[in-house]
């Protein structure tokens, strides 16, 4: 290594350290933005150093420069456009797309390395093994993430897609997958093995994600994030770049931890989710017609709810994905602001799987101008429910169902929000439809629960007006 190359690698090391510090600063909303800026700055410096290295080595052709610059500009423009324009509700799709392109880039790098080697047959397992792994993991992530994004966007059916022979395919594909990987490791010069493996991995990614239902998306996105990180780290082994190994594995551990947290929050094993099951249809709520409330629940009017809220001292909101689906987070934020202004203590109980990706609901509420001090995690908020005068549930279902505490049903053992411990409960809901798990929610039939049957957005607007009259 010459001086410049050495210097550039020191820059990479410093950048990697900044990535770690940047992630560390993410441990509080107050410092998180600074952390992200630090990380972005380090990335910019690392890219600048790479340009210096490329100029210094002077191996690059004119076409090479053209490819480098134009590809960079096109990618940056696409990324900027997507990042600026995306709606917060569509964030999971965007993160999936970024997972896909990150994995895709790692694959292309590994493929290039195997194809461009002067004597590929002479490549040892030192290069061919990480190369093959990078291709396998990256390709699965690429196609899997695109299918996940399609599902989230509604382009691909959100319900578990199961076709005849799917199970058989799910056995055959991994088998050919392992064979292909071993073949490529042993014969890195075989283009049949290379292309064959890419095709098998593409198919595997698709068949892995297709049978997974909408409610499991937080786990899938986190898992794919972990995969992308590993693919990038493997590309780092291929290129002998420690910066890629460090960055890739940081992401991989982040994805791994989030996958575990999400799976725990649903009380399901990761294998169970990936293999599929659980009637998790997005578009198939077992709905009874609106207003057709069965006799055992107590339907209440907007004025009843408004009185309860106006004379409460402490109110806990329990938002679920239904709130975001109805685009009603701003209305909820406005209602909360009105209550806060009149001295009523307001907080939000956010279940880990509320939303379509880890932490999604918090972002949606932050967008609706909810201060992060009011956003409470499950463990933090559960002891507070007994002191709450009113718990207002909007668009959340299974995560509030007390039957999860008892054994022998579809959601047994799932950690839930202790909404039933509040002094009084109001549920805003369109109908008596079931949640993903397809079980009756005992919270709704609890004598202290009032059901306010309405659309979330319309209901919250009316509620705000009514509360305004009582407190104003």
């Amino acid at each position: 290594m010459d001086t410049v190359s050495n210097a550039v690698h020191y820059v990479f090391l410093a950048a990697a350290a900044c990535f770690v510090i940047g992630l560390h600063l993410m441990n509080h909303p107050r410092t998180a933005r600074r952390g992200n800026t630090l990380s972005a700055g380090a990335m910019a410096v690392a890219i600048g150093a790479t340009v210096w290295l490329v100029v210094h080595e002077n191996r690059i052709t004119g076409t090479g420069w053209l490819v480098l610059v134009s590809g960079g500009l096109v990618g940056a423009a696409l990324g900027l456009w997507a990042a600026r324009g995306v709606k917060m509700t569509a964030m999971p799709q965007l993160v999936s797309i970024f997972n896909a392109v990150g994995g895709g880039a790692a694959v292309v790098i590994a493929v290039n390395d195997l194809l461009q080697a002067d004597h590929p047959a002479a490549l040892g397992a030192r290069v061919s093994l990480p190369g093959a792994l990078s291709i396998v993991i990256g390709t699965v992530t690429f196609s899997g993430s695109l299918v996940a994004a399609g599902k989230l966007q509604g382009l691909v059916s959100g319900s578990p897609v199961v076709f005849p022979g799917a199970r058989l395919l799910n056995v055959l594909l991994p088998a050919s997958f392992v064979i292909g990987t071993v073949w490529l490791v042993l014969a890195p010069d075989s283009s049949t093995a290379l292309y064959g493996l890419v095709v098998v991995a593409l198919l595997f990614g698709v068949t892995m994600v297709l049978p997974i239902g909408g409610a499991d998306m937080p786990v899938v996105i986190a898992l794919l994030n972990a995969f992308t990180g590993s693919a990038v780290a493997m590309a780092g082994f291929v290129l002998d770049e420690t910066a890629l190994i460090i960055a890739g594995m940081l992401v991989s551990s982040s994805g791994g931890i989030l996958t575990k947290l999400m799976a725990d929050a649903m009380n399901r094993s990761i294998t169970n989710i990936v293999i599929g099951g659980f009637g998790t249809g997005d578009g198939a709520p077992a709905a009874v017609g609106a207003g057709g409330a069965p006799a055992q629940v107590r339907a209440i009017s907007v004025d009843d709810v408004a009185i309860q809220l106006a004379y409460a001292r402490k109110v806990i909101f329990v938002p679920g994905y239904g709130l975001a689906a109805a685009q009603a987070q701003h209305e909820l934020g406005d209602l909360a602001k009105l209550l806060t202004e009149h001295g009523i203590e307001v907080s939000y109980a956010v279940h880990p799987v509320a939303g379509r990706m880890p932490g999604h609901m918090n972002v949606l509420l932050a967008e609706a101008d909810v201060p992060y001090t009011q956003l409470k995690e499950m463990d933090e908020v559960n002891p507070e429910f007994p002191q709450a005068d009113v718990a207002l549930v909007i668009g959340a279902n299974d995560v509030t169902n007390p039957i999860a505490r008892r054994p022998g049903n579809a959601i047994s053992g799932m950690p839930i929000l202790d909404v039933d411990k509040a002094r009084s409960v109001v549920v805003i809901k369109r109908s008596m439809g079931h949640g993903y798990a397809g079980v009756d929610n005992e919270l709704y039939t609890d004598p202290k629960t009032g059901m306010f049957f309405t659309d979330a957005k319309k209901g919250l607007t009316e509620l705000k007006a009514a509360v305004g009259e009582f407190v104003g």
Binding site: H24, A105, N112, G255, G359, N362
Partner: protein, 112 residues
Amino acid sequence: MNSLDLLTAITVFVLSVLVGIEVISKVPATLHTPLMSGSNSVHGIVVIGAMLIAAGSHTWLGYVLAFVAMVFGAMNVVGGYVVTDRMLEMFKARPTAGNRDKATAGTPDKEV
């Protein structure tokens, strides 16, 4: 190439996983989405690999692969950091009038 010996590379690999677990497990659930998009942009470092292959390419196949890798990598880096910043900007300790305006301005077609 191949200046890095395998043991060193694996050492880096293992330590990175441990550091990652240590740092990430301290991030509150409130910030899990920005954490994810932020760590997403960190693996955009793959763009450096893309630049290096662009620098070493001499064939059409090499150029095409380098171009694809550059587009993917640059999209990952730029998009990831910008969207993370956009999200983190919204997290405020207390409500501010400006925050609401910005949030709405960022999503013009939100309420139709």
